[in-house]
């Protein structure tokens, strides 16, 4: 049995999920919690946000994010990929910074504009 807090709405129900019983969810106040609990145990995913180095004195870092959620287990690996990146302005929101993270199909993209 696993316990989780549902994050779909502010109520934050405490869910119990029974892995031995076809991932049956209890403790939810609505159906959304059931779906959330099941997905969160079967294939949890996260959007990762961080920063990368920029070749600029005014703006030493540029914020980035994964353009889709990636499997939770790949988060630290994804972070590692950012260490070797060095961007040179101009940078535009949405510019791809790292392509196809760990074959997930997701890319790291810049989340702000930086001019020279």
């Amino acid at each position: 049995m696993k316990t989780l807090i549902c994050i779909v709405c502010p109520r934050g129900c405490h869910l119990n999920i029974d892995e031995e019983n076809d991932y049956k969810v209890t403790g939810h106040h609505c159906e959304k919690g059931e779906t959330y609990g099941r997905n969160e145990l079967l294939h949890p995913v996260r959007v990762v946000t961080s920063t990368v180095k920029v070749n600029s004195d005014i703006h030493p870092r540029c914020p980035v994010k994964t353009d889709q959620s990636i499997p939770k287990d790949d988060v630290f690996h994804a972070m590692k990929l950012l260490d070797s990146v060095l961007l040179t302005p101009p940078i535009r929101r949405g510019d791809i910074v790292v392509e196809n993270i760990a074959d997930s199909g997701a890319h790291f993209v810049a989340t702000r504009d930086l001019d020279t």
């Binding site: 996260r46 959007v47 870092r61 702000r112």
Partner: protein, 426 residues
């Protein structure tokens, strides 16, 4: 009018200031100036690189810089004058004019005249000294927001072994951020029996990395000569006093404080704007005008918001009202004025005063409750004993701002001069 005379000056270019200026422009003003003390626009959003902004307003999850970027883009070609690196140091009010005193390296001291002012200065973090932790004063103690700035904007790590005091959203977000950057976050410690942060942050920032959250606990000692070396954490009783025998010791080099935000209102008070002790922000009318004629307020300087989407909405309303004021549609002070009074279950409302004639179709009232309501309950507005409006809620918590939209027709039914707001169980 001389060249420097503006119709509107907006102080601060965070999401509040930007939305207010754009809205004032849209509602007919042409000579608008925005003053920002930082070197760039966007305010606190620039350092909030995580996602979770804009779900209500844009229907997508954006990061802070992306949310700010959407508004900064709209400024291009809008004719709104924006000046960065300029700090407003004083504000004066007279009947017809507002005078804004500002300083910048480039232009030195300036005295700018305008018809209306919008306060959008945001808030600052409470400091360690405001909460008085005993112990020595070594390096390694940061406000969580300051640490966020170092890490996200300047790319500097602030520590390797970290403990966090306070479970507000900034502290939670920083727990994840420091962990992703390779630090070890040992615990998050909260004085109250519940967290002030959003559930999603507790799950995705603490649970994801097995960081324990100790509720009803606090840091009772910080030791270290030059740098923090050890902290003591203790459980507290109902009166928030440490319980002897519950000591836990942590070897850490860094303490992050996330103990709350306070609206930044020194400027406002000096100009005579009356401050509400419940919000630490100005008292405002239904149109977000403060106690001083022609001075409006929105965003975190008015009350601390957890969602930027509401900041945007509120600031658009302030921009619209300031435009109406400048263009001569100022609200008449006559007519039915209602004061909204909070009962002990509600910690504050914004606005605090309503000129009923000025309300078009309905009035949105923001409020916070002062404890967790887990069972279905009602936000109730009463005129004496008469119920004017009732809003059902399944769940309410102090960390989540509530709002209630009261139709004008119901406000018209209020006979007295006060409207009481309280929470009642179903």
């Amino acid at each position: 009018m001389a060249r420097q005379d503006y119709e509107l000056i907006v102080i601060g270019a965070g999401p509040a200031g930007l939305a207010a200026a754009l809205s004032a422009k849209e509602h007919g003003l042409s000579r608008i100036l925005v003053l920002e003390r930082d070197t760039e626009l966007g305010g606190i959003l620039n350092q909030c690189i995580h996602n979770g902004f804009g779900l209500h307003y844009f229907n997508e999850e954006l990061t802070g810089p992306e949310y700010a970027g959407r508004f900064i883009d709209q400024l291009d070609g809008s004719g709104i004058e924006i000046v960065c690196d300029t700090m407003v140091i004083r504000l004066e009010n007279s009947d017809d004019w507002r005078i804004v005193h500002a300083m910048s390296v480039e232009k030195g001291y300036q005295r700018l005249k305008c018809r209306a002012v919008i306060l959008a200065m945001g808030c600052r973090e409470r400091t360690r000294f405001a909460i008085q932790i005993p112990g020595s004063r070594p390096a390694g103690i940061f406000n969580a927001g300051t640490a966020q700035r170092y890490v996200n904007i300047e790319g500097k790590m602030v520590g390797r072994r970290v403990i966090i005091l306070g479970s507000g959203d900034i502290g939670l977000i920083m727990a994840r951020r420091m962990t992703l950057e390779g630090a070890k976050v040992l615990a998050c410690v909260e004085l109250l029996p519940y967290s002030g942060g959003l559930n999603r942050n507790i799950v995705q920032c603490l649970h994801d990395f097995d960081i324990p959250l100790y509720l009803s606990h606090t840091i009772t000692n910080i030791e270290g000569k030059k740098r923090v070396q050890r902290v003591t954490v203790q459980q507290v009783d109902e009166n928030r006093r440490p319980i002897p025998g519950t000591e836990m010791y942590y070897d850490v080099d860094t303490v992050l404080l996330s103990v709350g935000l306070i609206p930044e209102n020194e400027l406002s008070s000096e100009a005579g704007v009356k401050i509400d002790r419940r919000t630490s922000g100005p008292f405002v009318y239904e149109n977000l005008e403060t106690s001083e004629k022609g001075i409006f307020a929105c965003g975190n300087v008015l009350h601390v918001h957890d969602l930027v989407d509401y900041v945007t909405e509120e600031s658009q309303a302030a921009g619209k009202a300031a435009a109406a004021f400048v263009l001569g549609d100022a609200p008449a002070d006559s007519g039915h004025v209602i004061e909204i009074k909070t009962e002990p279950t509600v910690s504050y409302t914004v606005p605090q005063t309503v000129r009923v004639n000025e309300v078009e179709r309905s009035l949105r009232i923001f409020l916070r409750v002062n404890k967790i309501w887990e069972e279905t309950s009602y936000i109730v507005f009463r005129d004496g004993d008469n119920v004017i409006a009732r809003f059902k809620r399944d769940y309410m918590a102090p960390g989540e701002m509530e709002n209630a939209n009261i139709p004008r027709v119901l406000l018209d039914r209020v006979k007295g001069n006060t409207l009481r707001v309280l929470i009642e169980e179903a």
